[in-house]
Amino acid sequence: MPPLFTPLHPLFTHVCGSHPHTCAFHSEFDPSIQVVTSGFVGGNQASAENSAVVLNSQDIRVGFVVAFDATFGYFMDKAEELGMVGPGYFWITGDGVGSAKIQGSNAKQSNGIGKMLSLGGVPGATVYDQFKADWDLFDSSAAGTALKTYAEAMWLDPHTADASHAAAEGTDLSLIGSTFFADNAPDDVATYAYDAVMQHGIGACAYKAAGGAFDTAFDGSAFYAATAAVEFTSITGSVRFLDTTGSRDPASSNFILYNWQCEGAEGLETCTQYTAGSWTMAGGWDYSGGNTPDVDTDGTPDGFRFSDNTLTSPSDSPSEIEVLKIGFLHPFYTLDGTDYIYSSSGHNNMVGSLMALQVRTRERSYKQTRCN
């Protein structure tokens, strides 16, 4: 359990649980955005649930869940149990959580959730559309049969290195040959994987053109340099790599914010993933190209709709009750005494300054609450 006064001096907080992997929790405070973080062990239900408890103890209303499918579910289930989903809360996840996972969650968790990721392929781009046309062909009987043969050979072959993980874990080959491909557009993994192979194919050409060989004279250093230097237009756009690191140049990639919106009677809701906005390194966020519903019928997509079905992000400030709690913990720093803290030369140490900022933030929240 975090120490009693954690909310007032989070810079100095480092709380370790009994399990060594729950030690990652810490809070950080700065004048612009206070970020409370809680790490959990991948695949560990208790650890993921503990993160929800930790964020709840810090009164987090707006947050990110950087996880994979299973632990995302554990976290959100616990968050729901703690009353941390639905109106007043805003959660965003990333590329580690599949859209199918969000689709499969209950509507209370899914409605108003965001998912932010580096998109990969962009429908409408020439190369992507060509790829998608080939992709859809796999649903035809001939192509589907060939692919199934390939998949069985590649997935069920003896090349599984770790015997504890079955090569075909969770893979349902019966999906191939139906309408699987038409129903499932290439995702970020598919498009980036395709481009990785393209990178190596084109890089191999450049390597060979420079006299390189793929036999006993193979030069890994020269081949790496060739693959890192390629530039080509492909499914994910203009592919190029940073000279300094070999990573994809983020300026040549596409970032997207999805928004899940659920409609229907309780228990019978239908949840849909919409595109709310996109982001580029040069231009920042752009919400003009989304496809969210036009409920207000003004002819343009409404934009991100939150869990209370409004277009306004929930407040991340403490409630009035918690302002009073501060007063209880620090009776000498009542809200009426805020000016004293600001002006007092006798309280000019760092802790005093932080507390003043904290109280000032809470005072603003208090006033907002009163105005409402």
Binding site: V36, S38, V62, F75, D157, G170, V197, R248, W285
Partner: protein, 168 residues
């Protein structure tokens, strides 16, 4: 050229592996732009990393020991792994052995350390870019207090660190 494709297949990510087929299958050839060059044939085999460091090392060792088409030529390059936690040990070994690697889904900024991962590249941007986008999003909405629950591995920790940096 002999490629290792490192991944861990499960149904929600089935697309990733399937996407390879149109280009390379197991013995496909990529025509080079110059007609004076022979086509580059890609011999691809998939190895299951288990999406963890142990499985990644086992997959790498298995690929290195595999003679693919019956020749004794060694592994030339690696596509993958998917998760950063699996890519890091593989990239460490690849740097030692001189085997280039390109990941399609490993986003940890830690993999940008060229002193360790000198043969690593990736077609997906590092976490710092999407974390910057996330920070700009919450700032634009006026939020002053946000939380992050993250998996405590190279991916989640890197994402968290980058986000905190951009919130300052």
């Amino acid at each position: 050229m002999k490629l290792m494709y490192g991944t861990h297949v499960h149904v929600t990510r089935v697309h990733g592996t399937l996407s390879l087929r149109p280009l390379c299958e197991t013995h496909a050839c990529t025509p080079c732009a110059s007609t004076s060059l022979a086509h580059t044939c890609l011999y691809v085999r998939r190895y299951d990393t288990g999406s963890n460091s142990k499985g990644s090392i086992m997959a790498y060792r298995a690929a290195r020991a595999d003679n693919f088409d019956g020749t004794d030529y060694s592994l030339h390059s690696i596509i993958g792994a998917a998760r950063s936690d699996a890519s890091k040990p593989m990239a460490t070994l690849g740097a030692i052995d001189g085997v280039p690697q390109s990941s399609y889904w490993s986003t940890s900024d830690g993999l940008d350390d060229t002193g360790v991962y000198s043969y690593f590249s990736r077609t997906i941007p590092a976490d710092s870019a999407v974390a910057k986008a996330a920070a700009e999003l919450v700032k634009s909405q006026g939020h002053t207090k946000v939380g992050i629950a993250h998996v405590d591995d190279p991916y989640g920790s890197s994402w968290k660190d980058a986000f905190v940096k951009y919130c300052r």
